[in-house]
């Protein structure tokens, strides 16, 4: 009974159910192969393709924990990719490490600046987060297209391609990026007081201010971090396909990321947050996508399946829904059971 109370129980159960389904459907699902020093297999694919979503969702978790939301991550993903590809395509030698590093640096600085913009609007001007980030979400797509001049910029650079499709110690490099960001976020929030500050600001901004927390800087920090995470995700995505598409890169990422956070058990009203839950949530979404493709569901109805899974996950996590079920079950059995118990004793 107690294990069901653990906050990771429902997300892990969902993931396990999905994986189990895959195992029954195709036993090859869990097989890993080593080819040319690299690991191959469906599980590795899920980790690799899921890494941008995991990154964005980690940043989103902290924002949601402060009671906010960041709708602009999809646009930041597009802008970061566009900026990096533009810088590289302008260079004379696209493969040179210095150029790639400066491109990566430039787009990360740009995504930090965009995070700063969101943070200032929320903490400085005092706008509602959903609107403050809606501005950048709408305008950001335009900016990304402005950077790429409406074209798809293609680059041919092995060093840049390494970020999204290279491998380190047999595993895709992007997994290490996710691990690093996850570790950094975990250490910063769980080993320092920052995590408590974030939860306090999310639970009650006024009370936390009175308690002496500089909620303004806490808010600024989470939006900066979210921008950075989205920027890294943008680099991974664009480097994976060696091109930047201002219109379609990172489309609907904000929705998937918010979904991952909610599946992970963090409430949209702010307060307690669960980074591990978020990563599991992102993995659930990616596994679901892979599963849908693998079992040959026609791509047309992918969205329908996704909608039902979202609804089921949210219903399962909704306290009101679980109580309604329990109440119905109880009222149906309770009087008879009491009667039986009376006679037995």
């Amino acid at each position: 009974m107690r294990i069901r109370k653990h906050h990771l129980f429902w997300p892990l159960a969902m993931l396990a159910a999905l994986l189990l389904f895959n195992l029954i459907y195709s036993p090859d699902f869990f097989s890993l192969q080593v080819r040319g020093g690299h690991l191959y297999g469906s599980l590795i694919d899920i980790l690799n393709f899921g890494s941008p979503l995991m990154l964005v969702a980690i940043g989103m978790t902290l924002v949601i924990a402060t009671g906010g939301i960041d709708l602009s991550v999809g646009s930041v993903v597009a802008i970061a990719g566009a900026m990096a590809c533009l810088t590289i395509s302008k260079g004379s030698d696209q493969g040179s490490l210095g150029l790639v590093l400066s491109a990566v640096g430039l787009s990360l600085v740009l995504s930090l600046a965009l995070g700063l913009w969101n943070g200032l609007l929320v903490s400085g001007v005092g706008m509602q987060p959903i609107i403050a980030t809606l501005i950048l979400m709408v305008a950001g797509r335009g900016i990304a297209q402005l950077i790429t001049s409406g074209q798809i910029i293609t680059v041919t650079s092995d060093s840049y391609g390494y970020i999204g499709s290279g491998s380190l110690a047999g595993l895709p490099f992007s997994i290490f990026l996710v691990a690093a960001v996850f570790a950094a976020a975990g250490l910063l929030t769980r080993r320092t007081a920052l995590g408590l500050f974030i939860e306090a600001v999310g639970r009650n901004p006024a009370a936390s201010r009175l308690a002496g927390i500089r909620s303004r800087y806490v808010l600024l920090a989470v939006y900066l971090f979210c921008g950075l995470c989205a920027g890294i995700a943008g680099l991974i995505l664009s480097s994976n396909v060696s091109s930047a598409d201002g219109n379609n890169a990172g489309l609907w990422y904000e929705l998937d990321a918010i979904l991952a956070v909610v599946i992970g058990g963090t409430s949209l009203t702010g307060g307690r947050f669960y980074l591990t839950g978020t990563v599991i949530g992102a993995l659930i979404i990616q596994t679901l996508t892979t599963t849908i493709y693998m079992i040959g569901v026609p791509p047309e109805i992918t969205l329908v399946v996704k909608a039902f899974v979202v609804l089921v996950v949210c219903l399962v996590q909704s306290e009101a829904f679980r109580q309604a079920l329990v109440r119905r079950w109880k009222t149906r059995h309770y009087p008879a059971e009491r009667e039986a118990a009376k006679h037995a004793s």
Binding site: V138, A139, G142, L303, K306, F308, V310, E319
Partner: protein, 322 residues
């Protein structure tokens, strides 16, 4: 003060619309005509209808992300039934309106009874409606039914040589009905009360459950009606229709002076919010050399200015009280 403070955001929206229209008139020949103004309505009739429904949802303190997908689904169902099954439009149009209302009603019920955030529920609704389009067909279904053709091409002549389409008349009726419901009916007052504070509304004994569900049902009905109008406009059903329209709608509502926190806003403001979006697009098309992405940047900028302005309006009375 000459003007009631609560009408100030609307006044600014109207003023800005007039300013942009005049700026366009000075810059481009042929801009300042009644027909250009009516074209704004013709091209944005569906947006107007959705935005009226969205205003109710946002005033009640919620949000509806499913409207764009609902429009696509409506075009798809209409096209498929009329074109492939041969059903008469007189049956199909009421049917899709009922379906849209039921869809919104269902989302409202889930939001209220299971206490899941509107954002998530309507997001699931958005995936579901968009997905159902592809279940029907992944291709465009062109409609050549005489009734739809007629609705698309009929021009209602107005004095002065200008004309509007039938869709515009439908949209104007919806706006009028929206204003009436919001300000002159019990339901409208309940929606404002609910948006102001759900707890207070509950304590006052207002029917919170019914109102909340009704708001989403209204939005569902409006998006289905917008879908019907969109079908007249595009004469086809397609799963990719009205992509991202939910954001345009929310932007229009916010530019129209409605607060996303709920409780404050006017349907009339939304009307001008939609017109402002239309003017931006018209100016960009008149300019010719500007690319389409400037629309997004300008709308983002306008959103920013408006919200900043609303903040200032809200902050100042609060500061005076201290």
């Amino acid at each position: 003060m000459l003007l009631n403070r609560k009408y100030l955001p609307i006044a600014v929206t109207v003023f800005l619309f007039a300013l942009m229209f005049l700026a366009g008139a000075f810059r481009y020949t042929g801009f300042f005509s009644l027909q250009v103004f009516f074209n704004l309505l013709i091209d944005n009739a569906f947006l107007l209808i959705v935005a009226v429904g969205m205003t109710f949802v946002i005033v009640s303190g919620g949000i509806d992300l499913s409207v764009g997908s609902m429009i696509a689904l409506t075009t798809m169902i209409s096209a498929s039934l009329v074109q492939e099954q041969g059903w008469p439009p007189a049956v199909v149009i009421p049917l899709v309106l009922v379906l849209g209302t039921l869809f919104g009603w269902g989302m409202g019920a889930v939001i209220h009874y299971f206490k899941i955030q509107p954002f998530i529920v309507t997001l699931a609704g958005m995936f579901l409606a968009r997905g159902l389009c592809y279940v029907i067909s992944i291709n465009t279904i062109t409609i050549d039914h005489p009734f739809y053709q007629k609705m698309a091409q009929t021009k209602v002549s107005l004095p002065g040589g200008s004309f509007v389409s039938i869709s515009v008349l439908i949209a104007l009726v919806v706006v009028a009905a929206g204003v009436y419901v919001a300000h002159y009916t019990r339901l409208g007052r309940n929606v404002y009360a609910l948006g102001g504070s759900e707890q207070s509304a509950l304590l006052m004994g207002l029917p919170v459950a019914r109102t909340k569900i009704a708001v989403y049902a209204i939005s569902g009905f409006c998006s289905a009606l917008a879908g019907v109008v969109f079908t007249f406009y595009m004469l086809s059903g397609y799963g990719l229709h009205a992509m991202g329209l939910e954001l345009d709608t929310i932007a229009s509502v916010v530019i129209g002076g409605t607060l996303l926190t709920g409780g404050v806003g006017y349907v009339a403001g939304t009307f001008f919010g939609v017109l402002i979006q239309g003017v931006i697009q018209t100016i960009i098309s008149f300019e010719g050399t500007l690319s389409s992405w400037w629309t997004k940047i300008v709308i983002g900028l306008l959103l920013f200015l408006f919200i900043l302005f609303q903040r200032l309006l809200l902050v100042r009375p609060a500061a005076r009280k201290l």
